[in-house]
């Protein structure tokens, strides 16, 4: 789901890594910044985003002292195993390869994928007929790439890009008629920046393409810690805090993705 292109923020991670977790109530959480709107910095340098706010709320609920450690995506799992931090909350898709190395919490969101077209596009639907002959942009190697390749490969012309930003640029140049991206990314790169809209439904199914959602990762033996987060997550879902945050970042109406159902 997430590409490897972020600048590695090693120095921050190393500095934070030298500090030891002294008592059971402090938890350091690794995060790869920026990935709008999940984790990013405001213009005045403050760390925020859906992951950050939800993470802080979870920690408060579980009565833990949390701090955030920035770490580039390439080294984010090794950093956890090397005890630079105790958890990863960084838009990490749960999958079996990662399960062999880390322990996942329950999914806290299933980020939907969505179709994006220019406001004045003649494409009105997302069926194979609607997409006939269209130039569709996707990010290479993502779940969206696999989905579009399998379902539209015969009728449309699929263009694969190294990053979502490249897809957005080629929407601007008019080379692409439609883009199929992960919804938060496409919303930030296209809808917020230019004259684009989503069409059709948000997709989180079938699971074989879109996965189980994002989870918080822990070291395998830290089951107690994972339990605390799972319980806190359940409480926040019940008392409405989760929905508030979800609305704040993904909008209440229209194109809002469905909150992830519990495990």
């Amino acid at each position: 789901m997430k590409k490897l292109l972020t600048i590695s923020l090693l120095s921050a991670a190393v500095a934070a890594g030298s500090a030891q977790a002294s008592d059971d109530n402090t938890v350091r959480i690794g995060v790869d910044v920026p990935y709008v709107p999940m984790e990013y910095r405001t213009p005045d340098g403050e760390l925020t985003g859906f992951d950050i706010e939800l993470g802080n709320a979870l920690c408060e609920q579980a009565k833990l002292q949390c701090s955030w450690v920035e770490q580039g995506w390439d080294g984010i799992i090794p950093g956890l195993l090397a005890r630079r931090y105790d958890a990863i909350m960084s838009s990490m898709t749960i999958n079996d390869e990662r399960r062999q190395q880390v322990l996942f919490s329950d999914p806290y969101i299933v980020p939907p994928s969505a179709w994006f077209v220019p406001d004045d596009s003649s494409i009105t639907g997302t069926s194979q007929q609607d997409m006939e002959g269209a130039n569709i942009g996707v990010q290479r190697g993502t779940v969206q790439d696999s989905y579009v390749t399998d379902n539209y490969g015969d009728v449309a012309n699929i263009q694969r890009y190294a990053s979502a930003d490249d897809v957005a640029v080629d929407m601007d140049t008019g080379r692409l008629d439609a883009a199929f991206l992960d919804y938060p990314t496409g919303e930030a790169a296209l809808v917020d920046e230019g004259n684009y809209k989503t069409i059709g439904e948000m997709l989180t199914e079938p699971k074989e393409y879109f996965g189980e959602g994002f989870g918080i990762a822990f070291r395998q033996r830290d089951e107690a810690l994972a339990d605390k987060f799972n319980q806190a997550l359940e409480t926040l879902r019940d008392n409405g805090t989760y929905d508030q945050l979800h609305d704040k970042y993904f909008g209440g109406g229209g194109g809002a993705p469905e909150p992830a159902s519990g495990s």
């Binding site: 290479r140 696999s146 263009q159 694969r160 490249d166 080629d170 140049t173 008019g174 080379r175």
Partner: protein, 241 residues
């Protein structure tokens, strides 16, 4: 190609990655790579011949202008040149309404443009070096026979210089083949692009990339062999007796 794939299908039955579909993709990538490299090399060669003569010219402004061109294209990464040709050109005001837009819209032509100008710059310098290294006596002899500059170039300098440039140019061709691996960043499905797709699909980096490395090696060896043959014929006068 279809029949060939059908005929080897049973042989691939147990193979999860190299199915007939993936091999067809690799074949498509192979064709695209060869096409892209071949066309840009031919165009670059055509461009480089007059440029190298101009570069050797005693007309200072001409020689300087061509030097600046080769210096810019040899001094910057091909990847950057490709980005400028593909993304940059598309943002020139008014270009989307102009008649060249259908060409720029297609990723193939911006890539050809960047590759062609790049290889032309290197080839110009290779040929220029060979022209410069023509033995002074040969040029003076041509003058003594009353040949004009044009005739001396046509009969004496170019035939000898281009032959001597052959080994260096063979290297440039192989470098160009390898450099073309970046074409996939502008959505061209070349060999490397297919390898990326297969890798992303099956999470099998070794299979996907080693196979594509073998494809490139086959191409490289074919080019190398062709140049060896050519050198044997063309440079026979330089061989030890």
């Amino acid at each position: 190609m279809q029949e060939l794939l059908q005929s080897i299908a049973p042989w691939l039955a147990d193979n999860a990655i190299f199915t007939p579909q993936t091999l067809a993709q690799y074949w498509e990538g192979f064709v695209n790579t060869v096409q892209l490299v071949f066309i840009s090399l031919v165009l670059g060669l055509i461009l480089a011949l007059p440029l190298s003569i101009g570069r050797a010219s005693r007309l200072k402004p001409l020689s300087l202008a061509i030097w600046v061109y080769t210096w810019v294209f040899r001094g910057t990464p091909l990847l950057v040149q490709l980005y400028i040709a593909y993304y940059g050109l598309a943002f020139i005001p008014g270009i989307q309404q102009s008649i060249v837009w259908p060409l720029i819209r297609d990723p193939l032509y911006p890539a050809l443009l960047a590759f062609m100008l790049n290889t032309a710059a290197y080839t110009t310098e290779i040929f220029y070096g060979a022209i410069k290294a023509t033995p002074r006596g040969e040029v003076e002899a041509a003058r003594a026979y009353g040949m004009s500059s044009l005739m001396a170039y046509r009969r004496i300098i170019l035939p000898s210089a281009l032959r001597r440039a052959l080994p260096a140019y063979g290297n440039e061709v192989i470098f160009m083949l390898h450099a073309s691996a970046i074409a996939s960043v502008v959505t061209i499905t070349d060999l490397t692009g297919v390898a990326y797709n297969v890798y992303a699909r099956f999470y099998a980096p070794f299979s996907a990339f080693i196979f594509v490395a073998l494809c490139y090696m086959v191409l490289s060896f074919a080019i190398q062999g062709a140049f060896k043959l050519l050198e044997k014929r063309m440079l026979v006068h330089l061989q030890p007796a």
